[in-house]
Subunit: 320 residues, 2 copies
DNA sequence: TATAGTCATAGAGGATTATCTATGGTGTAA
DNA sequence: TTACACCATAGATAATCCTCTATGACTATA
């Protein structure tokens, strides 16, 4: 058999001829003329190298080989159909895979979005990558993920960012800290306190450093700890103060409390970041849509909802 | 997905690209140029409507959709391959089906050919139709079978017949018949005996009738019985004499014996009969080849072997 | 035995495909 | 950085395919 020349079209036509038992009927059903169908059959016979139909009492009936061919056709066509359905589902975003890269702090919030999404879309497989800002930037450079969450989006051309959720940075101290009820508390008063800081690659650290710099303040004592969670525990045990995302504290606030420092909370927002040139997997698109709806319902973040909507609109116009 | 335009060739090329991870390598393996393969991929992508490969560190790797497509390709190609193998086997005659129509007497001999053949070709499915001459002629007219065995082939144009086995018709009487040892026994002596005859549609009857007519003899008493077996039993129980194929008697000779009548045995031969315009199934062809060999080995019928060889040769030249 | 329906074949057009050579871009590795 | 390997694109050509109309052959039914 000359497999190379075999076409799915031929199989489709052939299968219909076998079903209807008539060349003319198939021609009508498929909006072709009768000679066209005849010729398709002829070509298929040449490909197979063997007669596949013959006429019996005015009906077109498959030969023995033809029957085997018919079964093959049905088999192949239905499998192709399954794939086609998979494709549709994939394009609808209800199936498939995407990966999302998170900066550390975002891991305290994103599960609240990813959880419901996965529940609603069990066929979607999400890979979550977590690291500090610098690590995520590296992944971003290498195009390793489909979607990123940054506090400060990399300022590159062809990058789109949607600030979807506020990420207030607050100063925290241990429970019953002596600064807790001080009025008009300023950084000046705290500069002799020991501050527990994230490592330099971290976004939280970066933001705080920038603020300190612009305020012209230099800290006396600092200690570097690479995990928000470790910092929270250290603060609780009285090792010092720290600047953390309010979400980190809100998540399990035991042993620490927010201090009412002037100028705080520092405002920052998490951004969804995507590359313009990279085609976003439909599942990721669907996730963004999901987030948009969820923001309004659960997070009361109308601005974020708008930003995501805008992002989706841009993605829409870019992919066709 | 545009299934209509999908080709097996495209899938073959694509599958090879995925396996090798290189367009150039595939081009070499398939004896194509690199741009050709590139374009095939492009076309396949257009058919699928989705990117199917991308480049990662110099290698061509399938996307998520591409992986699903690869699996599909493997699946479809291997199934097609199975069909292709079936086709080969079918053409070799080692697989498939044919039907053979036998006149009654032949059923005493043909099992000795069909049995070994089926044993040697377990994948071949044979339908055996049995009837008297007239019934077989009807089937023959309607093209109902692939192959026939007649004593007297229908004299039609486009019919080929190969006399493959002698079918001597003998006169039989009961064991210890008083005619058994008579010298120079003639029909004249027997014309008062009762003869048990097959029905008029039967070939045996027809041959005997013709012989009687040419010999100018008319029988006194006859009785018609539609089965060779029943006739044999009736003869054994002394109801009369009969003309039967020697094969019928040889098969289980109890209670009857051949009478040494002058002019007997009447010579006749069984013929394989096929229509010229009908393409013989390869399995039937293989059966004829088998018979040819078997005739020499087991039946000592060199003439038959030659006739079958001649038939096969003609069939060979007619089908290409 | 007409007649209507069904299929095969011939001929022709335009569209699509398969394949090539030549060339340019891009990323990898020395 | 340079060189090389690899892939994409453009342009061209011959083959093939798809589809049509026209027509002839066969078959079953009225």
């Amino acid at each position: 058999m000359k497999v190379r020349q075999l076409t799915f079209r031929l199989l489709q036509v052939y299968a219909d001829v076998v079903r209807t038992g008539s060349i003319t009927a198939t021609a009508n059903r498929l909006h072709l003329t009768q000679p066209t169908v005849s010729q398709q059959l002829k070509r298929l016979r040449e490909i197979v190298g063997e007669p596949i139909v013959r006429q019996v009492e005015g009906r077109v009936v498959p030969t023995e080989v033809g029957q085997a061919l018919y079964q093959l056709s049905q088999d192949l066509l239905s499998r192709t159909d399954v794939f086609s359905q998979y494709l549709d589902e994939y394009n609808r975003g209800g199936r498939g895979h995407f990966s999302i890269g998170l900066v550390n702090t975002a891991q305290y919030v994103l599960p609240r979005l990813l959880g419901p999404f996965s529940q609603a879309n069990p066929q979607v497989d999400v890979t979550v990558e977590i690291g500090n800002r610098q690590q995520m930037l590296n992944r971003f450079e290498r195009h390793e993920d489909d979607l990123y969450v940054f506090s400060h989006p990399p300022s590159e051309a062809n990058v789109m960012a949607a600030p979807f959720l506020s990420n207030p940075l607050v100063v925290v101290g241990p429970e019953n800290s002596r600064w807790a009820n001080v009025k008009d508390l300023t950084m000046e008063s705290l500069k002799d306190e020991r501050f527990l800081l994230r490592e330099p690659g971290s976004a939280t650290r970066h933001t705080f450093d920038a603020w300190l710099y612009s305020a012209g303040i230099e800290l006396r004592a600092t200690q570097q700890i690479a995990s928000n969670e470790a910092i929270r525990l250290a603060v609780a045990s009285g090792m010092g103060l720290a600047v953390l995302s309010r979400h980190v504290v809100a998540d399990s606030p035991k042993g620490v409390q927010e201090l009412p420092l002037q100028g705080f909370p520092l405002k920052s927002r998490w951004h969804f970041v995507v590359r313009r040139e990279r085609r976003l997997p439909p599942a990721a698109y669907r996730f963004l849509s999901f987030v948009q709806a969820w923001l309004a319902l659960e997070f009361n973040e109308p601005e974020g909802e708008l930003a995501v909507a805008e992002l989706l609109r841009t993605l829409d116009t870019e992919r066709r």
